[in-house]
């Protein structure tokens, strides 16, 4: 058996093999176990890279390779090799590898590392499987696999130890959660999205008879009109989108991600940069050509609502999370909110691209470009945040401050990544955010566009705030105390800083060649347009509309927003000329707003009060009133009724022989009479 695309198979199989081997190597030697785990993730990355040359092929690339798996469901085990999957697989695999290297030092000496390496590798493998899978059933293996791994890794410190509160819990006040709670919350909340996605997959299968992406695309003129006539296309599409909403932590299923910060920082980096939350974006990008074709070529008009919903949810989530990031006091939580917010941008791009007749490639390009630049700078940010948390042994930013003198390398690396997050030219984040704004402007989505522009300012603000609180200003009481105890605060080890330094430099490097990068992505992804597959169907869309370049509007706007966000943040948190808490304390409006944002818009609270707790009391009520009070009661009543009825007859059983004989005789006479009557003798 020879494989045409060995890299496409090996990249997800090798981390999984690595995961399975981890417990075995743990028996040999613990150090060997650690290095072997990292080695397998490196192998995955190399395998993914072997596919890169395919990107430069002249011919459109949409290939798959598969083996029989479950014929009764028409399911094969196969991989899809196209620009989207190749780009995604490389981003995932390489960033994951760097995070694995970082883990060598970051997690050193923790108990339970066999479990850690097992799930980390399984996480990477699942993610790559979901990227490479050529059908939805196999994709769902990866999809739910990342769910399991995130559950296990967020709850890695499952002992919920109160002494390590500063390190391994998340949140404060009445919204403080231990790791095991956070892990469970993540799994259940993303599962809500997953079951909607499942339902949608089954509905589509009921009409299309296939789970395979390429067959869905090829046969779209057969199934899409039928399902639309049954009135189910839009519901199915929206249910489908709920899966990505849950996985990628978009409103209304975004509340799990901030609490997922209870896991080790390397896990957070993996979840945010390379795996898990990117899965949703990828899946939407993967099916975007299908729905785009149904909307623009088959003219199924209700799908415009689908794309609009994607764009609106993305833009609204971007705004929602950015506002919360402005007030959070934990460094990792700021980064978590910012992830939610940035992912919102990606969905905005994809939704807008779907709405435009010529925008499929634009949407995909800007979504994937932003995904890529976000993956790089967010990994860098998380890994440096991990180094800082290691140094001060606290996740709160008010325990940091003035760290630039202690950790100069981290300081520089984190600023590079932060400028990219803030969208400062020429960093990669600037270019990619720019393309998102441009495509949403072109799609005429005014509301989402405005939200996205405002969010750009908020992003700059919270980024500078985070950097300022962490590195600038005076050192905090905690640092003073730690130093008094003889605890030295120093730069992280090279095993830790080399990975994030590489990533930080990469985000600058990609930014410098930003224009070229976008062009390259655009060229590669243009073969995603399903013209080739459906040549006969697509006569009208070919005509490209060249209007005024939207950059004329978006570029100045982006720069203005940058300044609007940066100036107040600089004075408040970097130069510390203005005291933000004094400003907030003075105005009732600002105080209320601060509480509102700090309490996460009360959405998290509301979910607990409206769903989690009522569900538990409903269950208790159901058990007490229906099960015990209803069924068991009724049964007991029935039994005592039967017993009561039967005991009426006990009075007949007097025990006197005379009565019994009289009874027998009477019975005999009655029987005799009946027999006589039947026999016609009487």
């Amino acid at each position: 058996m020879s494989l045409e695309y060995p890299g496409a198979w090996l990249c997800w199989i090798s981390p999984m093999v690595g995961a399975v081997l981890t417990p075995l190597f743990a028996k040999i030697n613990l150090r060997v176990r650690d290095y072997v785990a990292v080695l397998f993730s490196l192998f995955a990355a190399i395998s993914a890279s072997t596919m890169i040359p395919l990107l430069f092929n002249a011919t459109p690339l949409f290939n798959s390779e598969s083996f029989d798996w479950i014929p009764s469901l028409n399911v094969k085990m196969g991989v899809v090799v196209d620009p989207l999957s190749i780009i995604m697989a490389n981003i995932v695999a390489w960033i994951s590898f760097l995070i694995m290297v970082y883990s060598l030092s970051y997690m050193h000496g923790e108990p339970g590392l066999t479990r850690y390496w097992f799930f980390m590798n399984f996480f990477i493998g699942s993610m790559l499987l979901l990227v490479m899978a050529d059908n939805m059933l196999l994709m769902f293996f990866g999809w739910e696999g990342v769910g399991v791994c995130s559950y296990a890794l967020i709850g890695f410190w499952y002992r919920d130890s109160k002494e390590d509160w500063l390190k391994c819990w998340v949140g404060e006040g009445d919204e403080a959660y231990p790791p095991s709670h956070a892990g469970m919350k993540a799994f259940i909340m993303t599962r809500i999205g997953d079951v909607c996605l499942l339902a949608s997959i089954f509905v589509i299968y009921a009409f299309a008879g296939t789970f395979s992406y390429s067959e869905l695309l090829e046969r779209i003129d057969q199934w899409a009109p039928t399902i639309s006539k049954a009135g189910l296309l839009l519901p199915a599409a929206i249910l489908f989108f709920m899966g990505p909403v849950g996985k990628s932590a978009q409103f209304p299923l975004h509340e799990w991600l901030p609490d997922a910060m209870a896991g080790p920082t390397s896990v957070s980096a993996l979840i945010h940069a390379a795996t898990m939350v990117k899965a949703g974006v990828y899946l939407v990008a993967r099916v975007l050509p299908i729905f785009w074709l149904a909307y623009h070529v088959l003219r199924i008009s209700e799908l415009s609502a689908f794309f609009t919903i994607i764009a609106w949810i993305g833009a609204f989530t971007a705004f929602l999370a950015a506002t919360q990031a402005m007030v959070s006091r934990e460094i990792k939580k700021v980064l978590a909110y910012s992830t939610v917010s940035q992912i919102g941008y990606m969905f905005l791009a994809l939704g807008a691209g779907g709405l435009l007749a010529h925008g499929l490639v634009e949407g995909l390009t800007s979504g994937m470009f932003h995904l890529m630049s976000h993956a790089i700078f967010k990994a860098a940010l998380f890994l440096s945040a991990g180094a800082i948390i290691h140094a001060v042994e606290s996740r709160f930013m008010y325990h940091m401050g003035g760290l630039r003198k202690y950790m100069p390398l981290t300081y520089v690396a984190m600023w590079l990544a932060a400028l990219s997050l803030a969208g400062v030219p020429p960093f990669s984040g600037f270019w990619s955010k720019e393309t998102v704004l441009a495509v949403s402007w072109e799609a005429g989505l005014l509301g989402p566009f405005v939200l996205a522009v405002v969010t750009a300012a908020l992003t700059v603000f919270y980024t500078i705030r985070m950097m300022g609180l962490t590195f600038h200003g005076e050192k905090s009481h905690r640092i003073v105390e730690l130093e008094a105890e003889g605890h030295k605060i120093e730069e992280a080890s090279p095993v830790m800083y080399v990975p994030y330094a590489i990533l930080a430099v990469a985000s600058l490097g990609i930014g410098v060649v930003g224009w070229w990068m976008e062009e390259a992505l655009h060229r590669a992804l243009s073969s995603m347009t399903p013209y080739a597959a459906l040549h006969s169907l697509v006569p009208s869309v070919q005509a490209e509309v060249e209007t005024v370049s939207p950059q004329i509007i978006t570029l100045p706007l982006a720069i203005v927003m940058l300044i609007v966000g940066a100036i107040p943040a600089y004075f408040m948190y970097v130069s510390r000329k203005v005291d933000p808490s004094a400003i907030v304390a003075k105005s009732l409006l600002l105080r209320t707003l601060h509480t509102f944002l700090f309490k996460r818009w009360f959405i998290n609270k509301m979910y607990y009060n409206a769903f989690a707790y009522p569900l538990m009391s409903a269950s208790r009520g159901l058990y007490r009133w229906i099960e015990v009070g209803g069924f068991d009661r009724a049964l007991a009543g029935f039994v005592s009724g039967v017993v009561g009825f039967a005991s009426q007859f006990r009075k007949l059983q007097t025990g006197f022989l005379n009565y019994n004989i009289i009874g027998i005789l009477m019975g005999l006479i009655i029987i005799a009479l009946i027999l006589l009557k039947l026999g016609g003798l009487w």
Binding site: L73, Y158, S161, I192, A206, L239, S619, D632
Partner: protein, 510 residues
């Protein structure tokens, strides 16, 4: 060769049952080992038959004796191992053997072990006979053997108010069995046959009244619903599962209750014309049962009772696949019907693995921790890592997490359910199934919530001395966990053949 051996899968346990009953004391632990050996014999036979059938070498094995022959009644005593009964019997034999192994290991001081294993083997042979039988009366007889044996086991070795609970179990099941018997009698009267595989052709010949067939099928289904504990006929189950000795609970939950699903496919689906009237009722009851069981499980503090409600809920999944299949058959879409029914059968196997692991874990906790009350546990993952892994795999199988067999089975059930609902083209039906799919989140909720309370967090001080169970306790569980994972990743070996057989079964019918 195999067909000659088929009767021995029933005869050997019967003889061994008498041996353990008679020798009892002198045999000591050998009582249990004999039970393991008898089920091993079945494992070997059914492994071979399953392999041969799945490899396409044979389509089925059959051994038929004349039993009662009078001028107007011919009863045949037949055993048939085909692509459906063979894997099901294999699963039963496997679970029985592993449970027996576990009983020998873990319940060494069980009083009156000879009698226990004597009844245990009767229970086993009842289930095997039922699966293999080709005749409605024979089916009924084996069914009764299994019921009586399990009643005696609960009555004698149960906990709490065991006699009362055992009686409740017995009366409920008997009421159901009588309904089923009524169906058999009516079939004999109306279709003039008791042979299961003659029913389709008799229906084709006699062109019977659909109303009467529906009545027959309804009576039979009520019997099966009691056995599966479908809402509102479920109320015997929680008490029974809680008070029955743990190995018997494991068998009842994993092997016995799902057999009603098997019987539905084998028997009820042959009455094709009646299916269109009962399918809706099946689907509605299935969805109610799924949600009702899971919702009750959420607030339980007794781990065993939680699992009992979870079993009720899981039977709802199985029934959903069956209901969908019934609907699809009546609409003439047999390959779609086969997907739903295959999903149900596969879920029966998957659930058997998952639930057997979890119920056996109850026993492990009783021995190692000394309690099965969830609120008295906590932080056990660090103290009992292997046990924790088993618990994860058990629950993940129920939750339908990929890489476990539960994922594929639920996938097939829901594919069938949505597919058949969309045949009718009523948005409401599809909506109903979507609600059912979304309700699977409840399974996640009660599973993860139990895991968190039992395995995570800080261990309460009284559990400081808790030790990991010896690996020999956990061996049976590990075998089942591996089986669940294997079937989750390579379901083809079961699904394809079961699917083919079911499809053939469905196309037999006109």
């Amino acid at each position: 060769m195999i067909e000659e051996l088929l009767p021995y899968t029933v005869i050997v346990p019967a003889v061994a049952s008498l041996v353990t009953l008679g020798l009892n004391k002198p045999l000591g632990r050998w009582n249990g080992i004999i039970a393991i050996l008898t089920s091993l014999l079945s494992i070997v036979i059914f492994s071979v038959s399953t392999y041969k059938i799945f490899a396409g070498l044979v389509s089925s094995y059959e051994k038929i004796y004349d039993w009662v022959v009078t001028s107007n009644l011919v009863l045949r005593f037949g055993f048939r191992a085909d692509g459906l009964s063979s894997p099901v019997a294999l699963t039963i034999a496997l679970v029985t053997a592993l449970t027996a192994l576990y009983t020998v290991k873990l319940m060494r001081d069980l009083p009156n072990m000879g009698l226990f294993f004597s009844l245990y083997q009767l229970f086993f042979l009842g289930m095997i006979g039922l699966v293999l039988s080709t005749n409605l009366v024979v089916f009924f007889v084996f069914f009764e053997i299994a019921v009586v044996a399990s009643w005696a086991l609960i009555n004698e070795w149960g906990t709490g108010e065991k006699e009362k609970v055992a009686l409740k179990y017995f009366l409920f099941t008997e009421a159901g069995a009588l309904c089923f018997l009524a169906g058999i009698v009516a079939t004999n009267g109306y279709l003039q046959t008791l042979e299961i595989y003659e029913i389709p052709q008799k229906i084709a010949q006699l062109n019977p009244n659909v109303g009467i067939l529906t009545a027959i099928v309804s009576a039979m289904l009520i019997g099966f619903f009691v056995k599966m504990a479908i809402f509102p006929l479920h109320s015997w189950l929680p008490d029974t599962y809680v008070e029955a000795p743990t190995p018997i609970t494991a068998l009842l939950s994993s092997a016995m209750s799902g057999l009603a699903a098997y019987a539905t496919i084998r028997i009820v689906f042959l009455y094709t014309p009646a299916l269109q009237y009962i399918s809706t009722a099946m689907i509605v009851l299935a969805i109610i049962t799924m949600i009702y069981g899971a919702a009750n499980a959420l607030s339980q503090d007794d781990f065993k009772r939680l699992l009992a409600y979870s079993s009720i809920s899981q039977m709802g999944y199985i029934l959903l696949g069956l209901g969908a299949a019934a609907l699809a058959i009546s609409m003439g879409f047999k390959s779609l019907a086969a997907i739903g029914a295959t999903g149900s059968m596969f879920h029966y196997i998957a659930h058997a693995m998952g639930k057997a692991i979890l119920f056996l874990l109850v026993g492990v906790f009783m021995v190692q921790v000394g309690t099965r009350t969830i609120s008295q546990m906590g932080g056990l993952a660090g103290k009992m890592p292997y046990t924790a892994v088993m618990m994860f795999i058990g629950f993940f199988t129920l939750m339908g997490v990929p890489f476990t067999s539960g994922f594929i089975s639920e996938w097939m059930i829901f594919t069938g359910a949505i597919g058949s609902a969309s045949l009718v083209a009523e948005a409401f039906r599809i909506f109903m199934v979507i609600v059912a799919i979304i309700a699977t989140v409840l399974t996640f909720a009660y599973s993860l919530w139990s895991i968190r309370r039992m395995l995570f967090g800080q261990a309460p001080p009284q559990l400081n001395e808790v030790k990991e169970a010896p690996l020999s306790f956990l061996t049976p569980l590990m075998v089942m966990a591996l089986a669940s994972l294997f079937l989750g990743m390579y379901p083809t070996i079961f699904t394809e053949e079961i699917n083919k057989v079911i499809l053939k079964l469905f196309t037999l019918t006109p």
